[in-house]
């Protein structure tokens, strides 16, 4: 088992799929990172050298917000909304949907937070 930028990667997995396991890296960013480093999509994690893995980690760390930094940023945005007591902040506090959805029925996903 290998860890790339904190995400667990299976050795037999292709690089383009393993890269998307990192929080904050989706398919588009995974392609961008690969092509910058000259790696074709069907190359597997076990075929990468240590230099290439270090390069991937360096590139992801420099150019992209991933993992706890991403989560911290999201949390900070939510707390800002709550602190200024705006409508969206209140909805975050209540655990209700805040993008104009109906609450008479449905809204189960948002209210899952309260039930937990």
């Amino acid at each position: 088992m290998l860890y790339i930028s904190g995400a667990r990667s299976v050795a037999d997995e292709q690089v383009r799929i393993a890269s998307t396991k990192i929080d904050g890296i989706g398919p588009k960013k995974a392609i961008l990172v690969r092509y910058r480093l000259g790696i074709i999509g069907n190359i597997k994690i076990k075929e990468l050298t240590k230099y290439q893995i270090d390069q991937i980690e360096q590139m992801i760390g420099q150019d992209h917000v991933v993992h706890w930094e991403l989560k911290r940023g999201e949390r900070a945005d939510i707390e800002r909304l709550i602190s200024i007591s705006c409508y969206r902040g209140i909805r975050h506090q209540d655990g209700s949907p805040l993008r104009g959805q109906r609450t008479h029925t449905n809204a189960r996903t948002c209210r899952k937070q309260i039930r937990k």
């Binding site: 961008l32 910058r36 074709i40 190359i43 990468l48 230099y51």
Partner: protein, 471 residues
């Protein structure tokens, strides 16, 4: 496998012609799998029968149920028989072919002509040997062409169960063209004065024999002692591996592919390369290695004095940073070799005129596909605007699509349309497949093979697929 099943069904007209896909799964020589397939087939037959019952409604009487169960048994039995035929058919055919080897009276082509040529090598073939088959040895072929045999050739050998190829007029023209370049005749016997072409691009319809002709040309050239740079898969230069942009040249380096190219070239030509000295003394530029980045201390690598081409290639194989530089240098060195004739033979040449698998990221959201001409190795070998002998064969197996008539870096008269089988060649092919028991003797007739020839439009692989269905 499916074709063998069809053949076995065609060979046994008295039996049911019902073909169920389970027969393919059942085509395993082990008996246990046969019995399991038998039960599976019976279950499937039962399931299909029961579905039919559900659709139509309940059977009206017990007699109907009995007849239906009998039908299911017949179906299952026919499936088992087909599976048995499939396995035994191949073995029987091989056994009969081994017995037929001793009977030389069967080696007869159309109009009583001999089916096989007596020429021992490709160099000895003459116009009289056209439309006959030449026997090869697979082992020797793999020694002479260690890079890889064309897929079509391997298929032909496997399906006909003999390592033999048809000698075609088009191949003899190609061979004689290059023979005339190296050994020009003193006086041209032909008043038209056919001029020899050094650069040829073999184009033509699907399955017309381009790759096989190219492989045979490389075989002939190596038999003659030439130095042949044979690339059986041009597409592999633009797909797979790693790619890095070289800031000095502006081209894209592919170190993994470059190392493979050098290894393939070394396989047959090792002894020849040891005798050829390097004529260019400039240092070899270094680039990115495969997964190891650039060298910090050096930008180039000097070759020691008195190095041979073998030393150059070994340097490229052992030093990953120098592999692309060595391939480019090798191309320059090959153009300076005057001691022996040099032939560059590229299959899937059309894949060098389209985009590669690689892309360059331009913005945060978009990438630009890289064209083959931007790859350093392809850029070194693609051009035909030189004085060396070069043959490129197009391939329809690479999904390149239609290219324009006037290709860049290719002489306008270089493109040659390789023809499909003519009627005479189709006659010989049909007799050969009859000899190889792909066609039943009682079903063989001139009218029948001509029909199949026109149906396939001269496509060799289609004819090979259709001929066993001759009735």
């Amino acid at each position: 496998m499916l074709r063998s099943l069809f053949r076995s069904v065609a060979a046994s007209p008295a039996k049911s012609t019902l073909i169920i896909p389970t027969a393919i799964a059942a085509s395993n020589p082990t008996t246990s799998q046969l019995t399991s397939s038998r039960t599976f087939a019976s279950k499937k037959a039962k399931a299909s029968a029961s579905k039919g019952n559900n659709k139509k409604g309940q059977p009206k009487s017990k007699a109907d149920a009995k007849t239906k169960s009998k039908q299911e048994e017949i179906v299952a039995a026919s499936v088992d028989d087909a599976a048995h035929d499939l396995i035994s058919d191949e073995r029987n055919r091989r056994r009969l072919l081994d017995e037929d080897e001793r009977n030389t009276s069967l080696d007869v082509g159309p109009n009583g002509r001999p089916l096989f040529t007596s020429a021992a090598s490709l160099s000895e073939l003459s116009r009289k040997d056209a439309c006959t088959y030449m026997k090869f040895s697979r082992k020797k072929l793999e020694e002479v062409l260690p890079e890889r045999l064309p897929v079509g050739m391997v298929k032909e050998f496997d399906e006909s169960m003999r390592d033999a190829l048809l000698v075609r007029h088009s191949f003899l023209d190609l061979r004689d063209n290059f023979r005339r370049i190296v050994d020009p005749p003193l006086q041209s016997s032909n008043s038209r004065g056919l001029s020899a072409q050094k650069q040829i691009v073999l184009d033509g319809p699907v399955s017309c024999g381009k790759s096989i002709a190219l492989a045979m040309l490389a075989h002939w050239a190596r038999d003659e002692g030439w130095l042949v740079f044979y690339v059986p898969e041009g597409r592999s230069w633009t797909h797979g591996g790693l790619f890095y942009k070289n800031p000095q040249t502006g081209l894209w380096d592919t170190p993994v592919q470059a190392a493979n190219i050098l290894q393939d070239f070394l396989k047959y030509n090792e002894s020849c390369l040891m005798k050829l000295p390097c004529k260019i003394v400039d240092p070899i530029p270094l680039g990115d290695g495969a997964g190891v980045g650039r060298m910090k201390d050096a930008d180039s690598m000097a070759m020691p004095e008195g190095s041979t081409l073998y030393d150059l290639i070994q340097t490229g194989i052992t030093t990953t940073h120098a592999s692309v530089g060595v391939v480019v240098r090798l191309r320059q060195e090959l153009s300076l070799v005057k001691d022996i004739p040099v032939l560059i033979a590229i299959d899937q040449y059309n894949s060098w005129f389209t985009f590669t698998e690689f892309e360059e990221p331009m913005t945060v959201r978009s990438c630009r596909p890289i064209h083959a001409r931007e790859v350093a190795t392809v850029n070194a070998f693609r051009s035909m605007m030189h004085d060396n002998m070069m043959v490129g064969a197009f391939s329809h197996s690479t999904a390149v699509g239609k290219l324009r008539q006037d290709l860049p870096d290719v002489p306008t008269n270089a493109r040659v349309m390789f023809p499909r089988y003519s009627l005479d060649e189709a006659a010989v092919v049909s007799h050969y497949y009859l000899r190889q028991r792909l066609i039943r003797r009682e079903a063989f007739s001139e009218e029948a093979w001509k029909k199949l020839y026109y149906l396939a439009n001269g496509n060799g692989s289609e004819m090979r697929w259709l001929l066993p269905f001759m009735r």
